[in-house]
């Protein structure tokens, strides 16, 4: 695991020095993160990197995971879909069960932190603990998902809990809601030194391609994401079929599954059926520890797609851009923050639009290269983990301050 000082080679000494200055102001405070899964998915991934780095900076940071059974996670999955605007039925019994599991966890967790940092809706009702033992702790709720058009009933249910926090944090401006508490914008980030993003020797890339039977000499179009309807893998296959009529290429659909996502296997079966045994479509269901493989697949790609229907932020876009790859992605969630259309990538709205630009980028490698280069610089300046750590440090400090300008003498 990289040390915080290792990042100076990527972002410069000044940036790392300022992190130490900010962290010093949090001496004596304990930050306790709570989420719903230790592995799989973007939240667990970022906490895995962030917690040790915050500790190295001198901030006493902890991480707890709530426990839930299959029933709880299928309810939270339905809630997740409803918050993305999908029409699903959530019964009063579901909500009652959701609250019961939250309550059980609240009894079990040792809330030792001065700042309790709760991630996503699954553990949102832990806030009921705020008022026990005389209060005095600061509570922040971090939303990692797309809140553009949430189902109003579920939103109202959650709002009654969210508004008990001291502040809420969202990943994109469009996710801001009409809330009585402060709302902050903190975009997620990628770690340039992690296995998923670090430079790889060519032999490693080649051996991964060989392992999956992908031909290095032919064009490779890739989408990396969980097998989830909201990532539209079936739409990606349609795009591929439209392009394949004119330009020979291979399609790689690769991703893992999170332990809180029981829907994944069902989607995977549908994707396999849509691929209809086309030998140029590579469907790879990868286990959680496949970061090197994902890194290699991205590096080997000619073009990377992210055709999501909804997206929290879309960390896979930042990952591909960081590797200098041309990316075509849907203009949803946090993706427009990462891609300026025709400058640092391509933003699309439809299957036809995606197919059109994919043909263009496959046939115009110089233009594709320029998009990738611009994308990499944009990620370096705005979406690396050092910027994310700085924002979290500022967020924690802001919980103890009023106003707009703070002097940290």
């Amino acid at each position: 695991m990289p040390e915080i000082r290792d990042y100076t080679s990527v972002v410069g000494q000044g940036v790392v020095d300022e992190l130490y200055l900010l962290a010093e102001r949090l001496k004596g405070k304990v930050v306790q993160n709570i989420n719903s899964t230790p592995v799989g998915g973007g939240v667990a991934e970022i906490l895995t990197r962030m917690v040790p780095l915050l500790r190295q900076l001198g901030v006493d940071t902890r991480w707890d995971v709530i426990k839930g059974d299959e029933k709880f996670f299928s309810i939270t999955k339905k809630m997740h879909n409803a918050l993305h605007g999908v029409n699903v039925e959530i019964t009063p019994q579901d909500l009652e069960y959701f609250l019961r599991i939250n309550q059980e966890n609240a009894e079990e967790i040792n809330f030792a932190g001065d700042i309790i940092f709760v991630h996503d809706p699954q553990p949102v009702a832990l806030i009921e603990k705020k008022f026990t033992n005389g209060g005095g702790k600061k509570w922040a709720w971090r939303c990692h998902i797309d809140f553009t058009e949430p189902n109003p009933e579920i939103m109202n249910f959650l709002k009654s809990y969210i508004e008990k926090y001291d502040c809420a944090v969202f990943s994109a401006p469009a996710f801001a809601r009409d809330l009585s508490i402060s709302q902050m914008l903190i975009s997620p980030s990628i770690d340039p030194l992690s296995d998923k993003n670090k430079e790889l020797p060519e032999e490693t890339v080649n051996s991964v391609l060989e392992q999956f039977g992908i031909e290095k000499e032919r064009l490779i179009v890739t989408q990396i994401s969980r097998f989830d309807y909201l990532k539209d893998p079936l739409g990606v296959i349609e795009v591929y079929k439209k392009v394949k009529e004119y330009t020979d290429c291979q399609l790689v659909l690769a991703g893992g599954g999170a332990t809180d996502d029981p829907e994944g296997i069902k989607v995977l079966e549908e994707v396999k059926s849509a691929a209809a045994n086309d030998p140029d479509i590579h469907i790879l269901f990868l286990p959680p520890a496949s970061d090197i493989e994902i890194n290699a697949l991205q590096r080997a790609s000619t073009v990377v797609l992210q055709k999501s229907l909804k997206e929290g932020f879309g960390l896979t876009v930042a990952e591909a851009l960081w590797k200098g790859k041309p990316v075509i992605a849907s203009s949803v969630g946090g993706i427009p923050l990462q891609i300026t259309h025709k400058y640092s990538g391509i933003l699309t709205y439809t299957i036809d639009g995606t197919a059109h630009y994919l043909k263009q980028l496959l046939n115009e490698p110089d233009y594709a290269k320029k998009l990738g280069e611009n994308g990499r610089e944009h990620i370096r300046n705005n979406f690396l983990i050092t910027r994310h750590i700085r924002d979290y440090l500022l967020l924690f400090l802001s919980l103890y301050s009023e106003g707009d300008v703070f002097y940290l003498g």
Binding site: E18, L394, G409
Partner: protein, 214 residues
């Protein structure tokens, strides 16, 4: 012995206000009610986030009007507001309101943005931190300015004047304080809004070097 110059740096945390606009009228309504920290944020964000690019675009309002609503003339009018000539954010807000009022009073048909491309009003909290750098003379000043982060330069030039409503930027004030009136005068004529931060750093260093004595 005159006071040395203490270098500070700043970081900012972005706040979401939950107010959005779909057309120029809603932008005007938003401008009237948001806190001044929001006007500050939307007119200064680009300076720090895109410091590796050319100086434009100048502010979020102009970018949205031109690139999302395709209102080129209105966008240009907002883009060319000479921010450095305003003493504070309230005056700047009034200027934007005046331009938008003028456009809307012409009774042109409303132009709406595509769904998902609304203007979202934001603001920011600024955290000011001392750096361990102190300049006792112009030579030391140049040495330090060469190595401090862009955030530090930004703080002393922009934050001091427009956010903290000081009469002038911190560098100019210190040069005056140590009797370098001509240098202060030369620096105060520089428009920092039309140059990248890295370009600004080099320009200041070149200017100060002319006055630095061994």
């Amino acid at each position: 012995m005159s006071e040395p110059f203490y270098f500070y740096t700043q970081s900012r945390l972005v706040k979401l206000l939950g107010i959005k606009a779909r057309n120029p009228l809603e932008l005007l309504e938003g401008l009237k009610k948001v806190p001044l920290s929001s006007i500050y944020y939307h007119t200064h964000r680009f300076l720090q986030q895109h410091h590796y690019l050319s100086p434009e675009p100048p502010n979020d309002f102009a970018y949205w009007l031109r690139n999302i609503l395709n209102l080129d003339e209105l966008g240009e009018a907002i883009a060319s507001v000479n921010i450095i000539s305003f003493r504070n954010m309230e005056e700047l807000r009034k200027e934007f309101i005046k331009i938008l009022d003028g456009y809307i009073s012409k009774g042109k048909p409303a132009v709406y943005c595509p769904e998902g491309q609304e203007f979202h009003f934001m603001s920011c909290a600024t955290f000011v931190l001392p750096k361990n750098y102190i300049a006792h003379n112009l030579k030391e000043f140049v040495e330090i300015l060469n190595k401090v982060s862009i955030n530090s330069l930004y703080f002393h030039i922009f934050e001091a004047k427009m956010r903290l409503e000081k009469e002038e930027n911190d560098f100019t004030a210190w040069f005056k304080g140590i009797g370098e009136e001509k240098l202060a005068e030369e620096l105060s004529r520089l428009d920092p809004y039309t140059i990248t931060l890295e370009g600004l750093r080099q320009r200041i260093i070149r200017t100060v070097r002319k006055y630095a004595r061994d």
